[in-house]
């Protein structure tokens, strides 16, 4: 038996040094921040695309292949991925990314969550997220928190490169801080502006920019607009002088166009995630924030 142990030990010593950390993220936003922090020491892939509704990504077996070798699986959490993630995490058969594993990374753990329901919740309230609103990456402060979380987890798993991750994370924060300074005038122009949002996905952006979301196209989360709801919304928009309807590219804009025709408000198609509009080169998290803030500012002038 001792020979066997020696043989295993020799094999372990003879094995290649640890290469890059393999990181899979549920969204493109997490993927970009993981790349910023991990740099050349990580290999990052993602499941849902930026132009796709992340609630409804599909649990394709090809994603299982990505996840079965992952060292880290980072996800938004708060039930955003509840419709597909369990099938992939279980299907991957990778103990590292199972709940409690070293690579299971629920990013929402470092977020100050909005819209956390109080009291009893049930599905009569629509497709409600009982743990709170999961669209938190659209606030740069949460971008920083995500970056720090990645730095910590990557350093825990790969301690010899801790300084490298620390340097990258600081560089990411510095870039984000500089970008924030650049868009301050746009932010000032947005403060207090009344708008309507299609889904509750823009709450964090509104909190950051000071936008005033006066209504939603969806009567309840996940429920398509009904004629009576739209009639009430039109009145509300006229009363509050809402100038824009902001929505993701993956929603049908027919209803928004109808409301626009009755109110004069602009329909503003905003990418909710990195890569959220094809052909616009929104390849990084900071690009995304800048694009959205510029677009809003120009649309609400």
């Amino acid at each position: 038996m001792s020979y066997l142990k020696l043989a295993f030990a020799a094999l372990a010593l003879a094995g290649p040094a640890r290469a890059q950390l393999k990181v899979v993220t549920s969204t493109t936003d997490l993927a970009d921040i993981a790349n910023q922090v991990g740099g050349a020491k990580v290999r990052v892939s993602h499941v849902s695309e930026g132009y796709q509704d992340p609630h409804f990504a599909e649990a394709k077996p090809s994603f299982i292949l990505k996840m079965r070798d992952a060292d880290v699986f980072a996800f938004v959490g708060l039930d955003l991925e509840i419709g597909w993630m369990p099938l992939l995490v279980q299907g991957a058969r990778n103990p590292k990314i199972q709940m409690g594993g070293s690579g299971y990374l629920d990013v929402s753990q470092v977020i100050s969550v909005l819209d956390r329901p109080s009291g009893n919740v049930d599905r009569s309230q629509g497709d409600v997220h009982p743990l709170g609103n999961p669209h938190y990456w659209l606030d740069p402060e949460n971008g920083r928190r995500i970056g720090r979380l990645f730095k910590k987890r990557f350093s825990d798993l790969d301690p010899k490169n801790e300084d490298y991750y620390e340097t990258n994370e600081k560089a990411f924060e510095a870039k984000l801080n500089n970008a924030e300074r650049d868009w301050q005038s746009e932010l000032r122009s947005l403060k207090g502006q009344p708008v309507v949002a299609y889904h509750t996905s823009w709450k964090y952006l509104a909190e950051y920019t000071g936008l005033n979301i006066v209504g939603f196209m969806e009567p309840k989360p996940g429920v398509p607009p009904s004629p009576s709801h739209l009639a009430g919304l039109i009145l509300q928009m006229k009363r509050t002088s809402a100038k824009a309807i902001i929505m993701e590219p993956f929603y049908n804009r027919k209803d928004a166009d109808f409301v626009s025709s009755k109110t004069g408000a602009k329909v503003v198609i905003m990418p909710p995630s990195v890569g959220g509009l094809r052909g616009k080169n929104i390849d990084h998290y900071i690009d995304l924030m800048k694009y959205d803030i510029d677009l809003l500012s120009n649309s609400l002038k």
Partner: protein, 413 residues
């Protein structure tokens, strides 16, 4: 916190020592600068994620402190408005076909457990599925122990209430059972990817093929010898064609011994014995194509599916054998097109050599309109025309309403 206090003490100490040597105005300016530095340090620390988790994150405490499993229920209500009377097994016009109760959770760091109980007027309470799944085996292996929907073909692993048609395709109903085939035993699965795409090999050993027939009694149990157990394998191949489209091409096989009837007057068997054990085998192939453009994925999608099965039956030469005297084939094709965010149109064509009609051809064509008010409820209306050879065609009008209570379940893929 310790560093903060230490820093504060040092700053105060340094400041005090300088006081003796500097003018009062200088010392106030210095103390102010140090205080500002200290406040900045505290701000920096408060921003640090590792220290900020507890007060700001969602994990102020576990969301499930009592470690309760997930409880859920699915109700499956069926209406049969066929013009020539109900075509349901118990001839009901409106029936609660089944209520399924599920209890699911991680058992420990090594297993998760899933229990599904079926409650229906016909079967009362039955164990639909109950299995333990490993979660930490190496080499991409997964082992399950217990009862589960047997992956014999593609559609048989879909719960009946989750189908895009009211009932299973006729090859499943005729070859595997009206509500699909379950297997009780050991399931081993391994993911492979030698060619860069997803492949999975599943091998199972089960106590028997399907359910035991109530009216057939054999002299020896079908599983007296290990060769009488039901052995099954499935080989899946899944490939992405593009980000919007993919297909799966898979093959399955099953073999085992099952009870076949005998003529008790000529079989020469002891009194009360009505059947003998004979081998039955199945092979099948299935092809599924899916299209769903990611940007408009809420509103557009297409599924095309086809499945083929061949049932092989051992023809015993013993006296009085009344089992099948031939092998049978069957197939179906199915298509479903998404019309709007909530509305789908589907159609299916079935062709089966019916074992109950000694292999006479049974064909059926059906169409379905499916409406999902939300992810948790479904309403469906279907029309089917069945055309068994030598018998009158039957027109069927079927309704289905199903709903799910409890935690959000993953969408089946």
């Amino acid at each position: 916190m310790y560093k903060t206090v230490l820093g504060a003490v040092l700053i105060v100490g340094i400041t005090s020592s300088l006081t003796a040597q500097q003018t009062r105005a200088d010392s106030i300016a210095k103390a102010r600068a140090d205080s500002i530095a200290l406040v900045r340090e505290l701000e920096r620390m408060s921003r640090d994620t590792s220290r900020a988790q507890a007060p700001t994150g969602t994990q102020q405490g576990p969301t499930n402190p009592r470690l309760l499993p997930d409880f859920s229920a699915v109700g499956d209500f069926v209406g049969d408005l066929s013009p020539n009377g109900s075509t349901q097994e118990n001839l009901c016009r409106f029936c609660v076909r089944e209520v399924e109760l599920a209890v699911q959770a991680a058992v420990d760091p090594f297993f998760r457990g899933d229990v599904f109980l079926g409650i229906s007027d016909l079967e009362k309470i039955s164990i639909e599925q109950a299995f333990l799944t490993t979660t930490s085996l190496p080499y991409g292996l997964e082992v399950r122990l217990g009862r589960q929907l047997l992956p014999m073909g593609k559609i048989n692993v879909t719960h009946r209430h989750d189908l895009h048609t009211v009932e299973y395709p006729w090859i499943v109903q005729k070859f595997l059972g009206a509500d699909g085939m379950k297997g009780t035993g050991v399931y081993v699965s391994k993911i492979l990817a030698p060619f860069g795409f997803y492949q999975e090999l599943i091998v199972t050993a089960n106590d028997r093929i399907g359910e035991a027939p109530e009216d057939l009694v054999t002299e020896e149990a079908h599983n007296k010898e290990l060769g009488g157990l039901a052995y099954h394998a499935r080989f899946r191949n899944y490939l992405d064609i593009s980000e919007s489209s993919n297909f799966e091409l898979s093959a399955s096989a099953l073999t085992g011994k099952t009870e076949q009837p005998v003529d008790v007057t000529t079989a020469g068997l002891p009194a009360g014995i009505t059947a003998v054990n004979a081998r039955q085998s199945l092979i099948g192939g299935d092809l599924t194509f899916r299209w769903r453009p990611l940007e408009q994925g809420l509103y557009k999608s297409l599924i095309l599916q086809a499945e083929f099965m061949r049932q092989f039956n051992e023809r015993l030469t013993s006296p009085g054998f009344l089992g099948p005297g031939r092998d049978f084939n069957g197939a179906y094709t199915f298509a479903r097109w998404q019309l709007t965010q909530r509305l789908y149109l589907g159609g299916r064509y079935d062709w089966v050599q019916d074992p109950e009609l000694n292999g006479e051809t049974f064909t059926a064509g059906s169409g379905y309109l499916e409406w999902f008010p939300s992810e948790f409820s479904k309403l469906m209306v279907g029309y089917e025309r069945t055309m068994p050879t030598g018998l009158d065609a039957v027109n069927r009008v079927l309704l289905q309403a199903s709903f799910a209570l409890g935690p959000h379940k993953p969408h089946p893929f």
